[in-house]
């Protein structure tokens, strides 16, 4: 499972991309976020408020209920401000 962080999530966590092997309990985005938060204070802080960030699974928008198989590319980022 490849995880990408953008903008302030990347800055707070301190890494833009990481490959992880999530434990068996991680079956959707919600359980992934809960597991990531336990990896340290930077994760806890960056992922504290699920209203503050968006998620994409394999480059499509997802939400907390999006199911994960384990080999996805998952990205966390703030609301977009392009244009």
């Amino acid at each position: 499972m490849k995880i990408l962080y953008f903008a302030w999530l990347r800055q707070r966590i301190g890494v833009g991309e990481e490959v992880i092997k999530a434990p068996e309990g991680v079956t959707d985005v919600r359980t992934l976020v809960e597991w990531l938060r336990q990896r340290g204070p930077k994760y806890t802080e960056a992922l504290a408020d699920i209203e503050a960030f968006r998620v994409a699974v394999n480059q499509e928008f997802g939400d907390m209920d999006t199911v994960l198989e384990g080999d996805e590319e998952i990205a966390f980022f703030p609301p977009m401000t392009g244009g």
């Binding site: 990408l4 953008f6 903008a7 302030w8 994409a56 480059q59 928008f61 990205a75 980022f77 703030p78 609301p79 977009m80 401000t81 392009g82 244009g83």
Partner: protein
Amino acid sequence: MTIRVQQKDFDVGAELDALSAGNTNVGGVTSFTGLVRDIVGSSQSRGGAMTLEHYPGMTEKMLVEIDAEAQSRWPLEASLIIHRYGRLEPGDRIVLVAAASAHRAAAFEACEFLIDWLKTKAPFWKLEETADGEADWVEARDSDDRAAQRWNSNG
């Protein structure tokens, strides 16, 4: 359709010419160019530049989807989205969207749709340099959400 995500600047005149070149079905071309603002001397002045970060791969994918949605909603002869990333100075061009159609109403609506959806659906983030040498991530605006949503559903 033309979709490009690039660091370098673009030539608005050449890009718009290309939209109607050789196609005399085109009666009108509407374009929107977004520029880096800097309200010099005002309380909103940030003194400068910004850096645009994006999600390579997903950005192009979303722009293709946004363009396809515009093509499905309006009878377009051609369309264009160019978005820059990297560090940009005040006055620099950020984005160009354009739509060419037989009639002007379709060209206007499609062009505004392209930029409204791009603002809320394409994974770009702006980091603005502040006067004190720091940098702040620009916050998404409710007005942009409302602008995108007025194109209904899927919004």
